[in-house]
C-alpha cells in the first residue's frame, strides 16, 4: 500500500469524524454516503433544535423514550460505522464472496433501489423520532372558527385540517401507524405463509393438497370483499385491521415458499440432510426456509407497500384506522372531501403513501433483481 493512500485515509478519517458519510459520498458511494450523512445531520438537528423536548423525553412516555434511544443509537451507529469504514482495510473483491455479497453488490448498483432504501430508512427514523419532531400534538384542536383550514404557513407548514389540527404533526404521527400496520401485518403473513408453504412443499401428499386448496380459496377471493365483510361487520379497531390484513395476505408467500421448497427439496444438500437422518422439523427450519428466504424477502418488501395502500382503501370505505388516531389512509380518505377547497389535507398524506410505497417497491424490485441470478447481467 502506497504512502499516498495512507495519507488519504488519514484525511478521510478527519472528515469522517466531523461529517460521517461525507467520505463515502465523495468517493462515489452515494447510497451509503447520503444515508449516514443525513442520519447524522438530522439527528444533530433534532438534538439542538428540539433540545427541550429531548430533555423532557427523559423518563417520559414509552414512545418518547424510544425516540430518545433511537436518536442516541442512530448518532452512535452513524459515526462509528463511517469511522470504521474509512479506517478498515479494503476487503479484496472476488474471493470467497457469498451469494449474499453478490446480491448486495448487484443491489448497490441499482440506483433507484438504493434511493428507495434511503427513503425507507429515513421514514422509519422519522417514525421513531416523531415525538421529538412533531411541532404539535396531533390530536390538539385549535380554534375551530379561526384556525380551521389554514393553508400552508410558517406556523403550520402543511396547513391545518377541519378540526384546526396541524397536518404536519398528524402526518408524522400517521407515519408511525401506517408503517407499523404494514410491518406487523406483513410479519404475521410472512411467518404464516413461510411455515405453511415450507410444510406443504416438504411434506407433499395430502398435507400439501389441503394447504394448497386452502390457499386457492383465499387467493381467488377478492380480498377486499373479505376484509370488508370481516372488518365492517365485526368492528374496525387497529388490532382487527392488522390481524385481518395479516391473516389474508399469507397465501402469496405460501405459494412462493412452496415453489422454492419443491425445487430445493431435490437439491443435494437437502437430500444429504435427509440421508443424515435429521428430523423434518429441523430440515424445514434450518435448511429449507433459510434457502427459500430470497423470494420471501422480496414478497415481504412489496407486501408492506401493498398493505399501506390497502389500509388507505379501507379508510375510504370508512373501515380504516379510526379517528382521532391519524393514519395516512384515514387522512387521505377524510381529506378527499375537501380536495377542491383545502387540497393540502389529502395531498400530503397521499404523497406520503405514494412515496413510501414507491420506495418499498423500488427496494423490492431491486432485491428481486439482485437475488435472482438469472436477471443479473
Amino acid at each position: 500500500m502506497s504512502d499516498g493512500f495512507l495519507v488519504a485515509r488519514r484525511r478521510w478519517r478527519v472528515v469522517s469524524a466531523a461529517l460521517p458519510g461525507l467520505p463515502q459520498l465523495l468517493t462515489g458511494r452515494w447510497g451509503t454516503g447520503w444515508t449516514v450523512l443525513l442520519t447524522w445531520l438530522g439527528c444533530l438537528w433534532v438534538l439542538t433544535a428540539r433540545y427541550e423536548r429531548v430533555i423532557g423525553a427523559l423518563g417520559g412516555a414509552w414512545d418518547q423514550s424510544l425516540a430518545l434511544v433511537t436518536l442516541v443509537v442512530s448518532l452512535i451507529v452513524a459515526w462509528t460505522w463511517s469511522w470504521r469504514d474509512v479506517s478498515g482495510s479494503d476487503r479484496p473483491l472476488g474471493i470467497g464472496v457469498s451469494q449474499w455479497d453478490l446480491a448486495a453488490r448487484a443491489f448497490s448498483k441499482n440506483h433507484t433501489a438504493v434511493a428507495g432504501l434511503i427513503v425507507i430508512i429515513a421514514l422509519y427514523l422519522v417514525a421513531l423520532l416523531t415525538p421529538l419532531l412533531a411541532p404539535y400534538d396531533p390530536a390538539f384542536q385549535g380554534n375551530l372558527i379561526t384556525e380551521r383550514y389554514v393553508g400552508l404557513s410558517t406556523v403550520h407548514p402543511l396547513g391545518t385540517d377541519n378540526y384546526a389540527r396541524d397536518v404536519l404533526s398528524r402526518l408524522l404521527y400517521g407515519a408511525r401507524i401506517s408503517l407499523a400496520i404494514g410491518f406487523v401485518a406483513v410479519s404475521i403473513s410472512v411467518t404464516i405463509g413461510t411455515l405453511l408453504g415450507a410444510v406443504a412443499g416438504f411434506m407433499g401428499g395430502i398435507v400439501d393438497g389441503l394447504i394448497m386448496r386452502f390457499v386457492d380459496i383465499v387467493i381467488s377471493f377478492p380480498r377486499l370483499v373479505l376484509l370488508i365483510t370481516i372488518i365492517g361487520l365485526f368492528g374496525s379497531s387497529i388490532f382487527m385491521i392488522v390481524a385481518v390484513l395479516g391473516l389474508t395476505l399469507w397465501p402469496g408467500t405460501a405459494r412462493i415458499v412452496r415453489g422454492e421448497v419443491l425445487s430445493l427439496r431435490e437439491r443435494e444438500f437437502i437430500q444429504a440432510a435427509t440421508v443424515l437422518g435429521y428430523s423434518k422439523r429441523r430440515i424445514i427450519l434450518r435448511h429449507l426456509i433459510p434457502n427459500a428466504l430470497g423470494p420471501v424477502i422480496v414478497a415481504a418488501t412489496l407486501g408492506i407497500g401493498n398493505t399501506i395502500v390497502l389500509e388507505a382503501g379501507l379508510s375510504f370505505l370508512g373501515l380504516g384506522v379510526q379517528p382521532p388516531t391519524p393514519s395516512w389512509g384515514t387522512m387521505v380518505a377524510v381529506g378527499r372531501d375537501d380536495l377542491l377547497g383545502a387540497w393540502w389535507l389529502s395531498t400530503f398524506p397521499g404523497l406520503a403513501i405514494v412515496f413510501t410505497v414507491l420506495a418499498f417497491n423500488l427496494v423490492g424490485d431491486g432485491l428481486r433483481d439482485a437475488l435472482d441470478p438469472r436477471l443479473r447481467t
Binding site: A139, Q141, I145, P324, L340, G341
Partner: protein, 573 residues
C-alpha cells in the same frame, strides 16, 4: 395456432365493441310479467294523451333537467312500504299524488282531494276526490284507490315502516268508508295535525295492486321496476344504482297546472360527493341535492351556479343512555350539554349553515320559539359546577371525574361508519369535554351493528350515540321518550318521566294551536331539564342549482316541491 390467437384478439374486440353498443336502454323490469302487462298500457295511453294535449306554444316548455344525489330510491313509488325521504318526495310531487299538500305557510291545500270536510266531533274526515285525474295507464283515479292505499298502509301484514303516522286513525277496512266513487270518509280519534299523514301518503292504483298479498307488497316490482302513477311525471326508466327517468305527463289536470314544463326529468345516483360536485361544476347535472357545507363555497364561487339553502327537517343529537350509572343523573347530562360549545360546532362543521338546537322542535315548525326557553349556552364553569353538585369530582388527579364509589366519568360515544359530521361531533366533544373532566371515547360502529346495539331492548350497548332524526310536520316524540315505549326499539334514552309522558299524551291529541303552544313550551322546558339528548343543531338543507333551471322553489316541504313548475332558461337550452 397463430390464427387462433388472432381470432382470440378479434373476439375480445368484438366483446368490447358489442358491449359498447349493446343497450342498457331497456332499464329493468322489462322481463317481469307484471311489468310486461303494464308498460304497453302506459305507452298506449301516453301516446293518446300526447295527441290530445299538444305542447303549448310557449318557450318555457321543453328540455331535460338532471338531478344528482348520492343514493338510489330503495322502494321507488311504492308508498305502502317506503320510509326513505327521497322516495317520499317522488311519491308526493313527481310520480304519485297525495290527497292534500301544504302551502308555504304549512296549511293544507287541495291536491288529489278537491275539497274535504272534518266532522264536527273531529272523528272523521271526508275527502272529495278530483274527477279529472287518470292513472298513467288511462284508468280513472277514484275513491277506491284511496281506500285501498289506506287499508294497505294500516294493515300490519304490509309492515308499513311509518305505521306510527296512523296511530290515531281507525285502522283497516273499518276506518275507511267509500261514500261514492269520488268521496271517501276516514275515521279517526281527534288529535293534533290530523291532516298531516294525508300529505305524505301517495295514493296507489288499486286496479294494479289490489290483488297483491299485503306481505308481498314490499317485494312487488311495482315500486322500482314499472311504477304507474298519476302525478305530473310519468315513470320512463329505472337503471338501478344509476338513474331514474321521468317524462312529462301530458294528461295532468289543467286545473293543477297541466303538463309540466320539462320534457324529462332525470334522477342520477352518484355516491361519491366529490364526483357529484364535479358533475355539477362541469354542468353534467343541473341540481345537486344536499351538498356538504364545506362544498358550499365552490358552488357560490361558480357564476353558473346558485346555492339555495333552507331550514331542513332534520336535527342531529347525541342520545344518552340514562340506564348507565354515569348518565342516570340529569345534571350530568345537562353539564355535558353546556360543557360543549355547540355554537362553535355549528359554525365549524356546518360553516354556519344551520342553527343550534335545544329541543327537537325545528325552525320551520309553528311551535318553534327558542327565545322563550331556558338557556343551554356554552358554559364550562356552569358544567363543572353541575358535575360537582352531582357528586362527580376528580379524586385521583388524572383529569377525569369520579363518583364517590370510584366510577369514572368516562363515556363512549358511538357513531356510524362513513358519516363525517357525526364523527366530527364525537371528536370535538371529546376535546371540549376533557376540559370539564369528562372523558369521551368516540367509537365508530358499522350502521347495521350500531342499530342492533342501540335498538335491541335488552342490549342497549352504548353510553351516547350520535344520531339524527328527520321529522314530519307533525311532531311526535312518543316513541322516543314515553315511558310506555321504554322497551320499544327507539327508546334510546330510557326516559321515564311522568310529566313528559303526560305532556306527550296531551300534545298528541290537542288540535288547537294556541292551547298546544303552551303545552309545547312546557314540554320543551322539561326536555331541557331532563336532557335525554344533547340536541346539536338543525342543519340547513343546501342545494346546488344551475342557473339555467328557473322557477325552482325549495323549502322544508322538500326539494321536489314544485318540480312541475321548473323550466329551462330558453336562452341556455
Amino acid at each position: 395456432m397463430k390464427e387462433l390467437f388472432k381470432k382470440g384478439l378479434i373476439g375480445l374486440g368484438a366483446v368490447l365493441g358489442l358491449s359498447s353498443c349493446g343497450g342498457s336502454d331497456a332499464g329493468i323490469g322489462s322481463n317481469d310479467p307484471f311489468c310486461q302487462q303494464v308498460i304497453p298500457a302506459v305507452e298506449t295511453f301516453m301516446a293518446e294523451a300526447r295527441e290530445a294535449h299538444p305542447i303549448p306554444d310557449e318557450p318555457r316548455y321543453g328540455g331535460t333537467v338532471v338531478l344528482g344525489t348520492i343514493g338510489d330510491m330503495p322502494d321507488g313509488l311504492n308508498s305502502a312500504v317506503s320510509s326513505n325521504y327521497t322516495d317520499a318526495q317522488h311519491q308526493q310531487f313527481v310520480g304519485l299524488m297525495t290527497l292534500i299538500n301544504y302551502d308555504a305557510g304549512g296549511e293544507p291545500r287541495a291536491y288529489l282531494a278537491e275539497d274535504w270536510e272534518v266532522a264536527p266531533d273531529g272523528r272523521a274526515v271526508t275527502f272529495h276526490i278530483r274527477q279529472d285525474v287518470r292513472w298513467h295507464d288511462g284508468e280513472q283515479t277514484d275513491a277506491h284507490d284511496v281506500a285501498f292505499t289506506y287499508e294497505a298502509v294500516t294493515d300490519p301484514l304490509t309492515a308499513f315502516p311509518n305505521a306510527a303516522f296512523w296511530d290515531h286513525y281507525v285502522k283497516g277496512p273499518d276506518g275507511v268508508e267509500v261514500v261514492d266513487d269520488f268521496t271517501i270518509r276516514i275515521l279517526l280519534e281527534p288529535h293534533a295535525d290530523f291532516m298531516d299523514p294525508f300529505r305524505t301518503l301517495g295514493i296507489l292504483p288499486e286496479h294494479l295492486l289490489g290483488d297483491v298479498p299485503r306481505d308481498q307488497l314490499k317485494l312487488h316490482p311495482y315500486g322500482t321496476q314499472c311504477p304507474v302513477g298519476n302525478g305530473p311525471f310519468v315513470f320512463a326508466q329505472h337503471v338501478p344504482q344509476d338513474r331514474w327517468v321521468f317524462e312529462a305527463n301530458p294528461a295532468f289536470p289543467e286545473a293543477l297546472g297541466g303538463r309540466p314544463f320539462l320534457d324529462r326529468y332525470v334522477y342520477r345516483v352518484i355516491p361519491e360527493q366529490t364526483t357529484l360536485l364535479t358533475e355539477l361544476l362541469i354542468e353534467n347535472i343541473d341540481v345537486y341535492i344536499a351538498p356538504r357545507p364545506d362544498q358550499a363555497q365552490q358552488i357560490i364561487d361558480n357564476q353558473n351556479l346558485e346555492l339555495l339553502n333552507f331550514s331542513g327537517r332534520s336535527y342531529v343529537f347525541v342520545g344518552w343512555n340514562a340506564r348507565k350509572p354515569q348518565l342516570a343523573d340529569p345534571r350530568v347530562r345537562r353539564a355535558i350539554t353546556i360543557g360543549t360549545n355547540r355554537a362553535e360546532i355549528v359554525e365549524a362543521i356546518l360553516q354556519g349553515y344551520g342553527q343550534v338546537a335545544n329541543t327537537g322542535v325545528p325552525p320551520f315548525h309553528w311551535a318553534y320559539d327558542p327565545g322563550s326557553m331556558p338557556s343551554l349556552a356554552y358554559d364550562p364553569d356552569g358544567a363543572r359546577a353541575l358535575l360537582e353538585e352531582a357528586g362527580w369530582q376528580d379524586r385521583d388527579g388524572d383529569g377525569v371525574r369520579e363518583s364517590e364509589d370510584g366510577t369514572r366519568l368516562s363515556l363512549s360515544i358511538k357513531y356510524n361508519t362513513g358519516n363525517q359530521q357525526r364523527q366530527d361531533i364525537a371528536e370535538i366533544m371529546q376535546q371540549q369535554l376533557s376540559a370539564v373532566g369528562v372523558e369521551v371515547q368516540p367509537q365508530v360502529v358499522e350502521w347495521g351493528t350500531l342499530l342492533q346495539q342501540i335498538n335491541t331492548p335488552d342490549l342497549r350497548d352504548f353510553d351516547g350515540v350520535v344520531m339524527g332524526w328527520v321529522v314530519e310536520f307533525k311532531l311526535d316524540d312518543i316513541d322516543l321518550f314515553h315511558s310506555e315505549r321504554i322497551n320499544q326499539p327507539y327508546a334510546w334514552s330510557g326516559t321515564d318521566n311522568g310529566d313528559i309522558d303526560r305532556l306527550l299524551e296531551e300534545l298528541s291529541i290537542t288540535a288547537d294551536r294556541t292551547e298546544a303552544m303552551a303545552l309545547w313550551r312546557e314540554y320543551q322546558e322539561l326536555l331541557i331539564e331532563e336532557q335525554p339528548y344533547t340536541y346539536f343543531y338543525f342543519p340547513d338543507r343546501l342545494e346546488g342549482v344551475n342557473r339555467r333551471v328557473k322557477g325552482v322553489e325549495m323549502d322544508a316541504r322538500g326539494e321536489w316541491l314544485n318540480i312541475k313548475d321548473w323550466y329551462l332558461d330558453p336562452a341556455s337550452r
